[in-house]
Structures are given as C-alpha cells and as structure tokens.
C-alpha cells in the first residue's frame, strides 16, 4: 500500500510494540494526541497507557528516565518533539546514554531509541528547524540513524528498536509526507550500511535524511539538463559510518560532493570529506566539495529556502567539481 514516511514510522512503532512487549513509547503529546506529527497516532489506544504515555514537558527527564527503563529491561522509544527541543536532553545523552555501557565495563547496555524530527523546510518558527546531527555523531557511544525514504523509515526504526545500543533516530520532518508503495514489513540493509540510490559515473552525491530526495532530484535534472550521470549514495547510518561504500563510489567516479542541511563548519560533511580525501587520495580528480546550510542560525520561514541546499546549488557544485 502507499505510505507516507510518517505512516511508515507509525507502522514501525506499532509492529515493534506488537512483537515485543518490552517496547514502550513516551514523550510530550505522544499519547492521546498521537504526537504533533501523528507519528504515534493510535498507539496508546491499542497498546494501553502503560506502553504509550504522555510525559510532563521535560526533555532531560524524558531521556534520563529512558536510561533507567532500559536498565530495567524495557526498550523505551522516546520522542523529542522537535530538533530544537532535544537540546535540554544533551547532558543526559552525552554524559550517560552514550557512556553507560563503557563506564560499566560493558555490563549495562542501553537499548533505547530517541526519535527526533529534524531539519527545516516546513515554514516553522525558530528552534523548530535545527539539524543537530553533528552533536550526536561526534559523541562516541551513540549510534545515529537517519532515513531518507519511507521504506528505510520503517526498516531502520524497527532495526533501531531491536538494537542493543542507544540509537539517535533523526527523522527528516519535511519528508514526513513523502509517499512510497510499501508491502510491510519491508526489509532493508541493516544499521551501518549505506546504499547507492542511483548508480552513476560523472560524480558521487552523498546525502542522508531530507537531502536524499534533493540529491536524487539533482541527479535526475543533471541527466536531462547536462547529460551528467550522477551517482547518489544514501548514508542512512551516520554513526557508525559506512566509509567503504562511500570510498568505493568516490573512487569509481573520482569526484564527490557531500550534501546536508546542517551548517558547514565542523558539520557532518567535514568528516566525510576529510576521510574520503584520505582514503581515496590519488583517486580523486577534485577535492570533495560540501553543499550545506550556511554557518548561521536557521533563518525565518519567509527566507528559509535561501538557506536550504537545493538541486540548483548541488548542480552548481557539480559544475565546479568538473572544472578541476
């Protein structure tokens, strides 16, 4: 059937809860309301208030209690209502969620998932369009996942819930309404594997989350408008990062561009570029370029489209890449 990404995520939560009684879902407005994006719609009604419930407005509390729940054998899947409101939980996430297994010498692992709708493009007010992946990906001990398609949204969320380590699950909110025909349960490559979404020879576009759609659009236009045959790689898991797939693609095409919404400076693209330049040194005809958000706080709705990387900006970068 045709499902939106939000619908796929909802189905993933429902199926995981049906299969595993230890899965609990909680956060702000996830119960009766079903979440401000309806991703948890109907879960409380079906699973009961013990397994899907609303919490007070306290993000550190949500993340901190999830730690205790996971210690006791539940698999909490908690929601941060928006990217910008995941920051009050950073202390719990950095100091404990990421470190618990190693500080306890491997004795206490934390199977929990923190879902965060992230990114811009929906005309929201400030603090509702942040791209926080760098904060999480840089934090050793976290596993960071971000789906780019409805199928991956379903498969990766289910895999994250079944995972034995804490997963920061970044949901590209502007793609919640992206549709795909799915026969559930869909399967997909596991956490930790990137996939080539479009094979090509001219250059490699590396993207994740909201930018996967944008990169594919750029590739399609490039084919017709410029005759460029662009390869598009969907990172899927930011940490641990599947560099082998990225290196293979960049080595093949000899040119690569990383695309993300987050600010460029010490952004996730820097890691990919630094590593590609090192591991594919000698195979690259040009340096790895980055097409990213500007190094500014996210702007207001009326001008946000000038912040967000789009196909034009990607194609400009390809043109620059081909000048080398």
């Amino acid at each position: 059937m045709e499902l939106t990404m939000a619908g796929a995520l909802n189905a993933a939560l429902r199926d995981s809860m049906r299969e595993d009684g230890s899965v609990v879902v909680y956060g702000e407005d996830v119960g009766k309301l079903g979440g401000v994006f309806r991703v948890t719609d109907g879960l409380q009604a079906e699973m009961g208030i013990d397994r899907c419930f609303d919490t007070p407005v306290a993000e550190s509390g949500i993340a901190g209690t999830a730690i205790g729940m996971a210690m006791y054998g539940l698999r909490p899947v908690v929601e941060m209502q928006f990217d910008g409101f995941s920051y009050p939980a950073l202390n719990q996430v950095i100091s404990h969620v990421a470190k618990y297994r190693s500080r306890t010498r491997g004795r206490v692992g934390l199977p929990l998932v923190i879902r965060i709708p992230y990114g811009g493009g929906i005309g929201a007010v400030e603090h509702h369009s942040e791209s926080p992946e760098t904060y999480y990906a840089h934090t050793a001990g976290l596993t960071v996942v971000s789906p780019g398609t409805p199928a991956d949204a379903y498969a990766l969320l289910r895999a994250s819930i079944a995972y034995d380590d804490p997963v920061i699950f970044l949901e590209p909110k502007r793609r919640y309404w992206l549709k795909e025909d799915l026969d559930l349960p869909v399967t997909a490559p596991p956490i930790g594997e990137a996939v080539v979404r479009r094979a090509g020879t001219t250059a490699t576009l590396i993207a994740y989350g909201p930018m996967v759609t944008t990169a594919l659009e750029a590739a399609t236009r490039a084919a017709t408008e410029s005759g460029w045959d662009l390869e598009v790689v969907d990172v899927r898991t930011l940490s641990p990062l599947d560099m082998d797939t990225l290196v293979a693609s960049a080595t093949k095409t000899g040119r690569a561009i990383v695309v993300h919404e987050a600010a460029r400076f010490v952004g996730f693209g820097a890691e990919i570029a630094a590593e590609l330049n090192e591991r594919a040194f000698g195979y690259l005809a040009a340096p790895v370029l980055r097409v990213t958000g500007w190094d500014i706080p996210y702007p207001s709705a009326k001008i946000e489209r000038h912040f967000l990387p789009d196909a034009d900006r990607i194609l400009d970068a390809v043109a620059r890449l081909l000048e080398y």
Binding site: E28, L33, V57, I296, S300, A301
Partner: protein, 365 residues
C-alpha cells in the same frame, strides 16, 4: 481549580498566598487602587487584545501567518500582569503572550513577525524593554532572572516579569530560575499562566501538585494563586509582587489560573484530547465579558466608550491586515548580517555565494 470567583469587585482583589513554610492559604481580599481611567485602560487593552487575537487567527487561516498561538481566554492573566509594570521594567514573554506583549506597547505588526516568518523577533527589545517571544520553554525565565540580578547589582529600581506556562513549569530551567532568583533576591516576578494544558497534556498529567504556586515554598519565595480570569485580581496580585520586588524583597511566583479557549496553536486539534463541555464551562467565565459586565455595573464605562474601543480595535485589525497580508519577504542576504557584530570572512564569502545565486536568478527572470 477552584479559585474562580469571577471579577469580585473593581476595588478588591482576591487571592491565596502560599505561607512562608509552604501551605496554601485561604482566599483573602486586598484593596486595589485603580482609578476609573486606569480601569478603562485595562478594559481597552483587553478588548483590543481580543480583537488582535481574532485577527491573527484569521490571518493564519489566510496564510499570512504560518502559525499562531491564541491568547483567547487568557487576556485577563496577560493584560492584568503587564498593567502592573512601570515604564522601565522588563518583560520576558513566550510565544503565548502576544496580547500581553501587545498590551505592553509593542507594535502589533512587529510583534507578529515570529508568526509571519519575516524575522524571529520583529521588534527592538531595547525600545520596548521586552525580550523576544520565546519558544524554548522556561529558558526565558533565566534571562529575566539574569537581567534582574544585573539591575540589582547596578542598584536600578526595575523589575523583570516573566511568563511561563503550567507545562514549562516542569522544565529544569523553571526550577533553576526560581531558585537562583530567590537566593539572589533578584527583583523578578514569575507569572505562571496555568491554562490547564500543555498542548494536549492536561494539568493532572503535568504535575501532582495541587497548585504550581506551591513551587515557591520549595525555593523560599512568596507564592500567590489567583483567578487568572479576574483581571482585577491578577493586577492586584502581580502589582503586590512587583512592588515587593522593587522594594528589594525579592521574587514572587504568581500562578494565574485560567484556560486556553482556543487550540494550542492554529495547527492543533483539540477534539483529540478534550471535550466541548469542558471549554464551554470556561467560556461562561470569559475574562473580557466578566470585566465589562462589572465595569458597566460600576458605571465606569458606557456604550459610547465601548463603541470607541471597538472602533479602535477595528483600526488595529485593519493595520494588521494591511501590513501582514502578502507582506513581502525581506532581503535574504540579511540572514548573514546579524550572526556576529562584524560578519566573519567565512560569512562574507557565503553571503557572496547567495548574492550570486540571487542576481543570477534576477537576470534569468
């Protein structure tokens, strides 16, 4: 929440005090000295607020605003609170306090920039001594405390008033703000608009405390619980808190018990989590109607004055339509100009790239 007594009187305010050691006191009445002129101004601000709110909702339906958080039903709590401030005092509002901020004097068009999406904060905080409408819950309470601490250090006799909601009161920042304010004796007034909901989450799922005002006892400051729909009571209680702060006797927590008659925002759907019966009961206690009724009874306002205010309200609404509907977006290049006092080389370079894109686009169009 049974502190509701309607607008008791024009000269008396009723509220409950949290005793020093924490117990919630009985409803006691206090004299309130408001001249008829002041009473009329209060009414005027509430009536204009009501109109501003309705117009903002309509502009949202028409797409001129991306989203809007209505204050419908909370006019007394907001207007009564800011009316207790003096010119040099500071206000730290949230996204909810549009009408309180309007009543404080912020230009309504500048005020709504956050929701129209033209800029995050459309007014000059220094011009009005009003901080930006803030969405990260409870964070602004700490800014208010810091500003008040600074004023105390400089021996300036000003007060900072900050609003937050029953939901925000659950955030760690709310506790840190109240504790730091109390121990430092900062001249701050915390006004919690307890409107019964945090989006869809009702008060009883937010906290087990019978009143948010009881938080005051935990940090050693005075707490007050007042009918948030009785503008005289709100004014009286907040005014007492403001005067205490200005005297140098430190902060106060005032819980104004009210109700959010509209949805959380224009994007919210109340049918999923609450009944019409519940809101109907509160509609019967409409703060503007109740106040107008008592004002008429007391002969403070007559039809002429009401008509005058209504007319002014229409002018304000017209202005909102004129300047917010189809308002052109600003120059996107400006997004680089205010990140730092002086743009970094890095930002200048990025600005140049956007500039190329824009000029190229202009040429092709």
């Amino acid at each position: 929440m049974n502190v509701s007594v309607g607008v008791a009187s024009l000269t008396k305010a009723a509220w409950q005090d949290v005793a020093a050691e924490g117990s919630m006191g009985a409803l006691t009445t206090h004299d309130v000295a408001l001249s008829h002129d002041q009473l009329r101004s209060l009414y005027r601000l509430m009536a204009l607020s009501r109109r501003v709110d309705r117009q903002a909702i309509n502009l949202t339906r028409q797409g001129a605003l991306g989203v809007f958080a209505s204050s419908h039903g909370q006019e007394a709590a907001q207007v009564g609170s800011v009316f207790a401030l003096e010119a040099d005092d500071w206000l730290f509002p949230t996204y909810r306090e549009t009408v309180g901020t309007f009543a404080r004097g912020v230009d309504v068009v500048e005020l709504l920039a956050l929701f129209s999406g033209s800029w995050h904060c459309g007014f000059d905080p220094y011009q009005y001594r009003v901080a930006p409408l803030t969405t990260p819950l409870a964070t602004q309470a700490l800014h208010a405390v810091g500003l008040a601490m600074a004023a105390k250090i400089k021996h300036d006799p000003i007060v900072a008033l900050t609003f937050f909601g029953d939901g925000a009161a659950s955030e760690g920042d709310a506790h840190e703000a109240m504790n730091i304010a109390a121990v430092s004796g900062a001249p701050v007034v915390f006004v919690v608009q307890n409107n019964g909901y945090a989006i869809s989450v009702p008060y009883r799922l937010q906290t087990k405390a019978s009143s948010i005002a009881l938080r005051a006892a935990g940090v050693g400051m005075p707490g007050i619980r007042v009918d948030g729909n009785d503008v005289i009571a709100v004014y009286g209680a907040v005014r007492a808190a403001v005067e205490r702060a200005r005297r140098g006797d430190g902060p106060t927590l005032v819980e104004a018990v009210t109700y959010r008659l509209e949805a959380h925002t224009t994007a919210d759907d109340t049918t999923r989590y609450r009944s019409d019966e519940e809101s109907a009961a509160w509609r019967a206690r409409d703060p503007v109607d109740m106040f107008l009724h008592v004002l008429r009874e007391g002969g403070v306002v007559d039809d002429a004055y009401v008509a005058e205010v209504d007319a002014e309200a229409e002018t304000v609404a017209a202005r909102m339509r004129d300047f917010l509907f189809d308002a052109a977006p600003g120059d996107p290049r400006e997004m680089f100009d205010h990140v730092y006092a002086t743009p970094t080389p890095q930002l200048q370079a990025q600005r140049a790239v956007l500039n190329q894109e824009l000029t190229a686009a202009e040429e092709t169009s």
